[in-house]
């Protein structure tokens, strides 16, 4: 499974959304998310999740252009 995922990303002509990748591999999107999480943890790829400050590295929700949608911003907190 993991080899197929990594190969598909490699050969993609441009960036991929999780939805695109799930469709290409005929894997359920939510299952693919968990697999990508694992591969990311192992340093084999990176997944960008707009709005997750701990992911995007922005120092403050106040200056994050994606911040308002993330769980931290919804709670009114700062990163």
């Amino acid at each position: 499974m993991f080899d197929e995922i990594l190969q598909e990303i490699e050969k993609a002509d441009g960036p991929l959304t999780v939805k695109d990748l799930a469709a290409r591999l005929d894997i359920e999107e939510s299952a693919l998310e968990k697999m990508l999480e694992f591969l990311e943890k192992k340093g084999k790829l990176s997944v960008y999740r707009p709005g997750e400050c701990d992911q995007c590295g922005v120092v403050s929700c106040k200056t994050c252009v994606f911040g308002v949608g993330c769980s931290i911003a919804k709670r009114g907190g700062d990163c």
Partner: protein, 681 residues
């Protein structure tokens, strides 16, 4: 554990949001006892139920995605099943996300517990075009499967019936398990033997776990199991030596850690089952976000739509901004007139207050409405989820140019302010990608440049303010992409890492959220007006006023002398010494360019007079050239400082200044000369 008078205990396990609590409430009829799991603050719920002629106690376990000891919840679930040995475990599965949910099932099967699958949310699955062959799924997993719709209390009686039979031992569990491939299975077998031979381990663990489960967990590098085994058998136990050998052997075969191999096999096992027993409609389920995305992130339409949104943003900014701008302008002019009338002497103090302080800060402050409107538009684009799509669209273009697509994400942030945008490059793991992104980020037009565009477009392109400003933003994007490509080909060569992007769903922005966002950024502009811009305006006033006795802002003033010294450098671009002074002070904050012109042209806060007098310094062609130069030349002081901090080197901060000034000069020269060729003035 307390069994509440019932003979049997049934545990409910499942992923978070699989509807476990609903199933629990359906089974117990809402009769429940809520407490905490021993030693932890994870909530524990249990309640009585009856089915198949027997009473049983239902225990709701915390929601988990796996049984690896990464979280407290996972440990609680694992320990409960292994130590308390429930008579049956009901694995509640969200049928609409069956592939993800079955991953936990593989681990529950591995624990060797009497398992029942409660296939919940069948209605949602059907709505998404997912059809599940229940009998085949049951056969493939070797356990009973009960389809349910928990929210409508459908399937509860059937589930109770199956539980009743299971706890009485009337259901046969075939114990199907994941096979990890010949090489891994050989090592698992060796470890199983070593575990079974170890008396201490057998005594401590084999009552709770199977030797196979322990062997797999040890290979999987489950820290908790490894620690427990070490404590029980000792650090030099044969089983740990075997573990070390097995891991090394498997690493030499697979070239990666065995945990990856094991997890990969589990997902492969699940994929095989799903392929057999689950059918997804070819068209698939399309949410509203999907339908919107099919247009907004379309390969052909995506970029033109993004460009239209950008153009609209500037049109709205200038069209609606001019009304409140006139009010603020009148207010500031009234204040300046009041000072001129009431502060009669000394003359220098009156000039400092009206030209330096009020004129300087006021000439920038007058653009507050435009700043607020553009931030309102940006906030709307972000809050709806569109800005993430904009990053995705640009990302596609970047990727085609052989660049790391993720680089554009911090660059989109540069529309607001380059300082946090440079900081946001921390998200890039590759040092080379990060350096490229930092270096090109200042080419993205930040909000501080907006007052300059607003002043010049109002003076020279009044009928097309939005379009001209849009062209400058576009120029910034194109040059940022081109420079990134150049840096990738020259200074920072190397491949990019694989990258996938999750797009958040679209949502309706709330008025409060959008206005709060707008104000957070707008207030930063106000703070800047009261600090950096004020200080800059006073310094410009001093340099324009001295030496004592010269005409204010004349070529004979200190500002004039500095400007004339550097004037030959900008002459080929059609600028004079006043542009030099404005650009020099613009290094401290691009808005100061506006107040500097106010000071040098002696118009103070009178915006209309400033617009008129700019025609003595610029033509439409040189005005556009000047705006392009302002867009591209050197990052501001705060951005330079953050580049130094992020790269850890003054060398790169200096390089950012040097290359951007050179680029600005070349682009401005090109625009001016080509403009002249086409008869521009």
């Amino acid at each position: 554990m307390a069994r509440g008078g019932s003979q049997y205990v049934v545990a409910l396990a499942g992923n978070p949001n699989a509807g476990k609590t609903t199933v629990f409430n359906n089974l117990t009829g809402g009769r429940q006892h809520v407490g905490n799991w021993p030693g932890v603050t994870v909530e524990k719920k249990e309640g009585p139920s009856r089915g198949g002629g027997v009473d049983f106690q239902v225990v709701d376990l915390p929601g988990t995605y796996s049984l690896t000891a990464y979280s407290l919840e996972e440990v609680v679930v694992r320990d409960f099943i292994a130590v308390e040995k429930p008579d049956a475990v009901v694995n509640v599965i969200d049928a609409s996300n069956i592939e993800r949910n079955l991953y936990l099932t593989t681990q529950l099967l591995e624990l060797g517990v009497p398992l029942i699958i409660a296939l919940n949310m069948m209605d949602t699955a059907e709505g998404r075009g997912v059809t599940i062959d229940i009998d085949l799924l049951s056969e493939l997993l070797g356990v009973p499967v009960v389809p349910m719709v928990g929210l409508r209390n459908r399937g509860t009686d059937e589930l109770k019936e199956v539980i009743g039979k299971a706890v009485r031992g009337e259901v046969k569990f075939r114990g199907i398990q994941v096979i990890y491939g010949r090489e891994a299975e050989e090592e698992i077998a060796k470890l199983q033997v070593a575990i079974e031979r170890d008396e201490k381990l057998s005594k401590e663990f084999l009552g709770k776990y199977s030797a196979r489960w322990l062997a797999i967990k040890l290979l999987e590098e489950d820290e908790r199991v490894e620690e427990d085994v070490q404590n029980a058998a000792g650090a030099d136990a044969p089983v740990l030596k075997q573990l070390d050998e097995s891991r090394r052997h498997l690493f030499s075969i697979f070239g990666e850690d065995i945990e990856t191999v094991i997890v990969d096999n589990r997902y492969g096992f699940v994929a095989g089952i799903v392929r057999e027993a689950v059918k997804r409609a070819k068209e698939g389920y399309e949410s509203k976000s999907d339908r919107i995305d099919s247009v907004l992130t379309n390969r052909i339409l995506g970029f033109p739509i993004f460009a239209v949104f950008m153009w609209l943003m500037f049109f709205v900014t200038f069209y609606f901004g001019k009304f409140p701008m006139h009010w603020i302008d009148s207010l500031i002019r009234g204040l300046a007139n009041f000072v001129n009338t009431n502060v009669t002497s000394p003359v220098w103090l009156r000039s400092l207050l009206s030209n330096g302080v009020i004129g300087g800060v006021g000439s920038v402050l007058v653009f507050l409405p435009q700043i607020l409107i553009i931030f309102l538009c940006i906030s709307l684009l972000e809050d709806t989820g569109y800005m993430a799509r904009a990053a995705f669209i640009m990302d596609r273009i970047m990727h085609r140019l052989g660049l790391h697509g993720k680089s554009f994400i911090p660059m989109v942030m540069g529309f607001g302010c380059n300082v946090p945008a440079v900081m946001a490059t921390r998200t890039l793991e590759s040092e080379k990608d990060r350096m490229i992104t930092i270096l090109v980020n200042p080419l993205m037009s930040c909000a501080a440049r907006l007052p300059v565009y607003a002043l010049f477009t109002a003076a020279f392109f009044a009928a097309n303010q939005g379009t001209v400003t849009f062209s400058l933003y576009l120029l910034g994007i194109i040059l940022a992409v081109a420079m990134a490509k150049l840096f990738r080909k020259t200074i920072f060569r190397g491949p990019s890492e694989p990258f996938v992007m999750e797009l958040p769903p679209y949502r309706f922005p709330t008025a409060k959220g959008t206005f709060v966002h707008m104000w957070e950024r707008g207030s930063m502009f106000l703070r800047k007006a009261g600090t950096v811009i004020l200080a800059g305006s006073v310094i410009v006033w001093i340099l324009s006023y001295l030496p004592w006795g010269v005409t204010y802002g004349s070529p004979a003033s200190v500002a004039g002398m500095i400007g004339r010294f550097f004037e030959p450098l900008v002459k080929p671009l059609g600028f004079d010494w006043r542009a030099v002074v404005a650009l020099l002070f613009g290094f401290f904050g691009k808005e100061i360019i506006v107040s500097t012109f106010g000071a040098l042209l002696g118009t103070g806060s009178n915006r209309a007079a400033l617009s008129t007098k700019l025609h003595h310094v610029f033509t439409p062609l040189t005005a556009y050239t000047f705006m392009a130069f302002t867009l591209l030349y050197t990052p501001c002081l705060a951005t330079v400082a953050v580049i130094k901090k992020e790269t850890g080197s003054w060398k790169w901060a200096g390089f950012a200044i040097g290359y951007s000034v050179a680029l600005a000069w070349l682009v401005a020269f090109f625009i001016y000369r080509v403009g002249l060729l086409f008869g521009g003035k």
